[in-house]
């Protein structure tokens, strides 16, 4: 990795953090409607994973999707504009927080029904296999999704057909307010992949470089024809499940313990220790990120509302 690569990862993580902090404010001001699920605390997961992909690799995730969008190369402007439901949003204001995508950047959403995107991910990988494309599909989902039938149908199919897919469970310890121990027969999620004869790994999701390292290895193996593999990433969301979560299911002590392992703080410290960059340089990166987000918010607020045509023109391709 070059110095610029490290700084780029750092920049992405700070953009996600600042963007979501601003999103929380915009939500409280009533400018964002519906549900808003923040990725704060989990930035190292998608940043590390997606930094290991090639442009031809497809990315698909669940509804906690703003960070994934940024990592896939969507601009902060089109992400914030989508949150505000504007015509300039990545889904033209039709999808909102949970349904962001940009297929030109191989970002296939942004899916809000728990686990339902896993069979779709298998289909994306099938498309590449069928057309002899040497591409990998990266499918991310939460721990909660591993208890629903779709998960099992999709993993089974992917193994039976030897699909080029990397299944990644972001274990943030809770499916809404229900802890993994209370919802899943095994608390080490990766064990579920054993049931499908699938190689599986576990990694610390608070360390972006560790995530990137294992992702690089798995992308490479899958690209070489290994078939599907499974990665469990241990992480934690610092905020509630969505806005307005009373958080009765966890103690503030627990939250504070995890917050001491802030993925951005860890990465900052590591970059200084590795002598990649000094505090001043990293702080400058953070300032740039903050400025980018401020511009994105201004852009989104000034953007036009979508017209009703966008609705009627997109129910079908052929009317």
């Amino acid at each position: 990795m070059e110095k610029s690569d490290y700084l780029n990862l750092y920049h992405q993580m700070v953009v996600i953090r600042r963007l979501e902090e601003r999103a929380a404010e915009l939500y409280q001001q009533g400018k964002i409607g519906g549900f808003l699920h923040l990725y704060i605390g989990q930035e190292a997961v998608s940043t590390g994973l997606i930094s290991a992909r090639r442009p031809e690799d497809r990315i698909i995730t669940a509804y906690r999707d703003h960070g994934v969008a940024i990592n896939c190369g969507l601009s902060a402007k089109e992400v914030v504009a989508e949150l505000l439901g504007k015509a300039t949003g990545c889904s033209q204001g039709m999808g909102g927080s949970m349904h962001m995508a940009d297929v030109k950047k191989n970002y296939w959403g942004g899916h809000a029904i728990v686990g339902a995107h896993l069979p779709i991910a298998a289909g994306l990988a099938l498309g590449d296999l069928y057309q002899n494309q040497n591409a990998v599909t990266l499918c991310m989902f939460g721990d909660g999704a591993t208890n629903i039938g779709y998960f099992h149908e999709a993993l089974n199919l992917s193994k039976v057909w030897n699909l080029p897919i990397l299944w990644v469970c972001e274990n943030n310890q809770y499916g809404m307010g229900t802890s993994v121990e209370r919802a899943s027969a095994v608390s080490e999620i990766r064990q579920k992949a054993d049931g499908f004869g699938m190689k599986n790994y576990q990694v610390d999701g608070m360390d972006v470089l560790k995530v990137r390292e294992v992702a690089e290895k798995l992308f490479q193996e899958i690209r070489a024809g290994s078939g599907p593999q499974f990665l469990e990433v241990d992480t934690y969301r610092f905020r509630g499940h969505s806005m307005g979560d009373p958080e009765r299911y966890r103690s503030t002590d627990e939250v504070h313990r995890w917050q001491e392992n802030d993925p951005i703080g860890i990465f900052h410290k590591k970059l200084v220790e590795m002598k990649v960059a000094g505090d001043a340089e990293l702080n400058h990166q953070a300032d740039l990120a903050e400025q980018e987000v401020a511009e994105a918010v201004a852009f989104a607020e000034a953007s036009p509302e979508p017209t009703v045509d966008v609705v009627f023109n997109n129910v079908y391709v052929e009317n």
């Binding site: 995508a101 779709i120 966008v310 079908y316």
Partner: protein
């Protein structure tokens, strides 16, 4: 023109489309080695190979979800559900994913997807395997629902569906597979979303589709012997619903009977009747009658099952009530 069965017509459409376009492929339970539960894909596996005629596990969400994903990559999957009753196991993927994705992501996702599903009662399969839930699926904007009643329409509509850019549920009635009819050879396309007059008449309009077209035409023949000329309109697709031939016919006859195999409440007949009242109220000479399945889960017993399904006599008496 060859006189072939509905099964052969559907098989022909699939075969020709797969020969024409390498992006078209089939996936589903027992579509390959077995040759299709209803033998529609017999011979396909040997000719097109395992990559293009893909046997799946018994996992409907994976079949439909997988087909959605493959369609998003530009392929044209034809996913087969062994029976439409199994569509409930893939309900989310049909109505909540396939029907939503184009709109919800601002038009950037395109799903050229066909779901073939076999439906209908009358075969002593018991309550869980005998349903006609077409209206449920027709409720969802974003999905198209096609249900042919003749072999020619089956071929032409299926070819149109495979070439379409939208997700389409293509419902085949199991007891129509042996029905014979004239079917044009080669590239025969019937545009989706066009109702048609299957039999001209002047006294009453019978609106129907799929299997019920067959018994409606039989009823019309019997009525003709009594001097009553029924005009039969075949909807062919429920969404989009082409009301033009229905309204045109009704303005001429001022009387209508709607015949469907599914249950009456919240069904196709309810929708058609409401549309007639909304669009042609001034022409109404009698209340629109609905002929439909008795509102019970279908029994296994042959006599009782037949008793619950719409019959020729039910249509005849409904027509006489509106005259």
């Amino acid at each position: 023109m060859a006189r072939i069965t509905m099964r052969e017509a559907i098989s022909q459409a699939l075969w020709e489309e797969m020969e024409r376009d390498p992006k078209v492929f089939i996936m589903g339970e027992e579509v390959g080695l077995w040759g299709g539960t209803y033998a529609v894909t017999k011979g396909f596996y040997d000719h097109f190979g395992a990559d293009r005629v893909r046997d799946t596990p018994i996992a409907e969400a994976a079949i439909i979800g997988g087909a959605i994903g493959a369609a998003l990559t530009g392929l044209r999957p034809v996913a087969e559900l062994m029976t439409i009753n199994f569509a409930f196991s893939a309900f989310d993927h049909i109505v909540n994913q396939a029907a939503k994705m184009h709109m919800m992501f601002g038009g950037q996702m395109v799903l050229p997807l066909v779901i073939r599903a076999v439906g209908g009662g009358g075969r002593q399969l018991g309550a869980t395997h005998s349903q006609t839930p077409d209206a449920i699926f027709a409720h969802f904007p974003g999905l198209k629902v096609v249900a042919p009643g003749t072999p020619a329409d089956a071929k032409g509509l299926l070819k149109a569906a495979i070439r379409s850019q939208d997700p389409i549920l293509f419902i085949e009635h199991a007891t129509l597979y042996q029905t014979r009819g004239e079917v044009p050879e080669g590239d025969y396309i019937v545009p989706i979303g066009k109702s048609t007059v299957a039999r001209p008449g002047k006294d009453v309009t019978i609106v129907t589709y799929s299997k019920m077209l067959e018994i409606s035409l039989k009823a019309a023949e019997t009525l003709a012997k009594e001097g009553i000329e029924a005009e039969v309109v075949d909807l062919r697709s429920l969404r989009p619903l082409d009301m033009e031939p229905v309204i045109e016919s009704f303005k001429k006859t001022n009387r209508a009977v709607v015949v469907e195999e599914g249950w009456k409440s919240f069904g196709v007949g309810s929708e058609i009747a409401a549309r007639i009242y909304e669009e042609a109220f001034d022409y109404v000479d009698a209340p629109v009658k609905r002929v439909a399945q008795t509102e019970v889960p279908l029994p296994y017993n042959h006599t009782l099952e037949q008793m619950m399904l719409p019959k020729v006599e039910d249509i005849i008496s409904a027509v006489k009530e509106v005259l």
